[in-house]
Amino acid sequence: MTTSPEQHTPAVSPAARFATTRWSVVMAARQEDSTESMDALQTLCRAYWHPLYAFVRRLGNSAHDAQDLTQEFFARLLEKNWLEAADRERGRFRTFLIMALKRFVANEWDKRQSAKRGGGQSFVPLDTKFAEERYLADPSPALSPDHLYERRWALTLLARALARLREEYEADGRGADFACLKSYLTAERGTIPYGEIARELGTSEGASRVAVHRLRKRYREVFRETVSDTVSSADEIDTEMRYVVEVLGRV
């Protein structure tokens, strides 16, 4: 049997370290066919491919096939100008990616398979072991592929937001503060032991109150930024936020 993935995998895949790329940038540059927008797309794809992998696996593919399929999909996505299709998906990266994948599976995958896995080209190096562990660790075998995709997507957003937050704190030399304070992100107000936190951080109770408040506030902002990176225009942020929050509410 495998060991529990919790024991040896980092909380966030190395590839999921945050990119400052935005879907809106990719969308804005799509007519120009610039390498810049391609790079941007590649970075985004790399950050958000786990949900797709889970989707492909849940369709019934073996781990090996799912890896092949996902790799191939990204290779084709980047070499072909599929961004044309993005308009039709109303500008959300989440829906764009899954629609493109479905189209790929329906129209191209079988053909490519029978033509034999060609050339061994692998344009997007993906940490497939990590993805497989994530997939097996997900305690929700009854979910449909689509539902699983949405769920993994929402969890990926959350993981990225928290990783971004952690990095911010660490960059300022406040890594220890983050480690101490993070569990109060979800704590009910009134149950937060400010005295205890103050002792641990070597500060006053008032200062610890402010520190918790700031972390919570900053987390909200960062999560919103993370979501906004995946939509193409500002007026979609709220809808997407609501959607993601709703999905997470069912986790």
Binding site: M1, T3, S4, P5, E6, Q7, T9, A11, V12, R57, R58, G60, N61, S62, A63, I98, M99, K102, R134, L136, A137, D138, P139, S140, P141, A142, S144, P145, D146, H147, Y149, E150, L155, L158, L162, A163, R166, K182, S183, L185, T186, A187, R216, K217, Y219, R220, F223, R224, D235, D238, T239, M241, R242, Y243, V245, E246, L248, G249, R250, V251
Partner: protein
Amino acid sequence: MNDSTPATLCPRCGATLPTDTPEGLCPRCLAAMHFGPETELTGGLEAAPLPPLSPGELAPHFPQLEIFQCLGRGGMGVVYKTRQKSLNRFAALKLLAPERANDGEFAKRFTREAHALAALNHPHIVTVYDFGRAGGFYFLLMEFVDGVNLRQAMSAKRFTPKQALAVVPPVCEALQYAHDHGIVHRDIKPENLLLDKEGRIKIADFGIAKILGDESNTGLAESQPAGTPQYMAPEQKDRQNADHRADIYSLGVVLYEMLTGELPGAKLQPPSSKVQIDVRLDEVVLRALEKKPEMRYATAAEFRTQVELATAESSRPSKVPAAASMPWKNLFIATSATVLFSILVAGLLLVIGFWYWRSSSRARAEESLAHARAAEADARASLMPSGTPARPPESPNVTALPAKAIPDPEKAAELSQEGWRLWQQGDFGNAGLRFSEATALSPNDANAWNGYGWARLNSGFADTAEGAFKKAITLEPNNAGALNGLGQIYLSRREYDKAEPFLLKASQQQGASAAWFGLTRLYLLQGKFDNAEKWAQMVVDSGQGDAIATKMLEAAKEKRLSDGLRQTIEPPAPPTKAEPPAKPE
């Protein structure tokens, strides 16, 4: 080796945490923070309301409109009846909070919300034609509904329970649609439920409470949350996180008021203690009025289903007519003497059997929902404002149902087809809407109910799905999709004994590998390894299996379920909340 990580529970909400939960925090609670009261800090000084402007004063700002008269002024703004000159149609012009015209935060919120509102397109929601800012006013231009609001209708005459119940399904349908689009009304009350001259109901002022809302003014006890206190959910009054379930509560208050003529008091008394109605309705109403949102209906669709079921129950005849069973017995005894008689009786039995078949198929055709929808339609028709013709006399074919609910199986089949297409694309929300329409047009269509069930299940609403699957099975006992769906729901609730018969029945259908997969999980979790092996083998042989299926087959053969695999295949424990005491069946 560590193969037995115990499931971790969130200390706050009690949910089972996924093993890969980010930073060890509960995703559900993290998500909930985004709609927390700390989210925004806005709000401005309240200015005294100005007297409404006359049509003449407004006219220069709205050259595209002919402005007739001021229809009223409420907390939500001032409404005028107008005509759009270009399209020559009436429209209602609503000016929002002129006193906030210079509030930048308000402007942002208005634009954001109005965009969302304009995207709503539903027969039971007042359509937003246009919005913007003109002459310093934020305005919404909306569909003009020629009729009365529910408050006026209620004060004109007391509603019968049947009429009161008929209001709920269309309102729920509209609410569900809006909720699916992420929009909460926040101010459901009789004044905002409009009845047009055809007796159709339309919800007005969607989301306006949010535009005007100052819910973000945390800590200011003296300021009022937007909404109407008598109809507001407790969490909305307390400025807690109010979500779509606040609308369900408000609609519950409206229903309570329609049934009893009173608002629910501090000590909530069941409607049947005040007026003579079927006690089964108490439960339906009281659940919407639960103080805790998580105890209410999870969705408006579920509320609708329960009201429809209750309506169907109370309008269904309580006894099977004696004629249907007795003749058989008497005839049989009387005719057992001679062959000749037997032959005669055989003929008679055929005739009676045919009559029985015809009447029972008619009975089937009038299954619960048809009852409910017809009752709804009747009641709706009788709700029309007085003085308007009930129905155009020139439509002689239509006798009982208003235009919208005329059964149309062909259209329903088309909608179902479209529903499945959307479902396959993963667009469960819109798929659900198509199926919902299909069930309205063809209430006896098991396929439509099955589709509705799957769309809702995949959207995460198992309770609604359960009701839909049950209906599909009532209509078509061998409907494999619905049988499987119901089995999967019980399985996910760890109700294994309940799940088994449905999955078994579903598994007999062609290619029902999902049911096989379910049975494998079920038997493994119950420790019935021989059974598990049989089904796991079928899954694997069918080529539909994945790594989990293979592992399950191995486990069944070894007759040992490792903790690791158990954790993978066991449904999460049901949330720990105070359950109401179980009721006898």
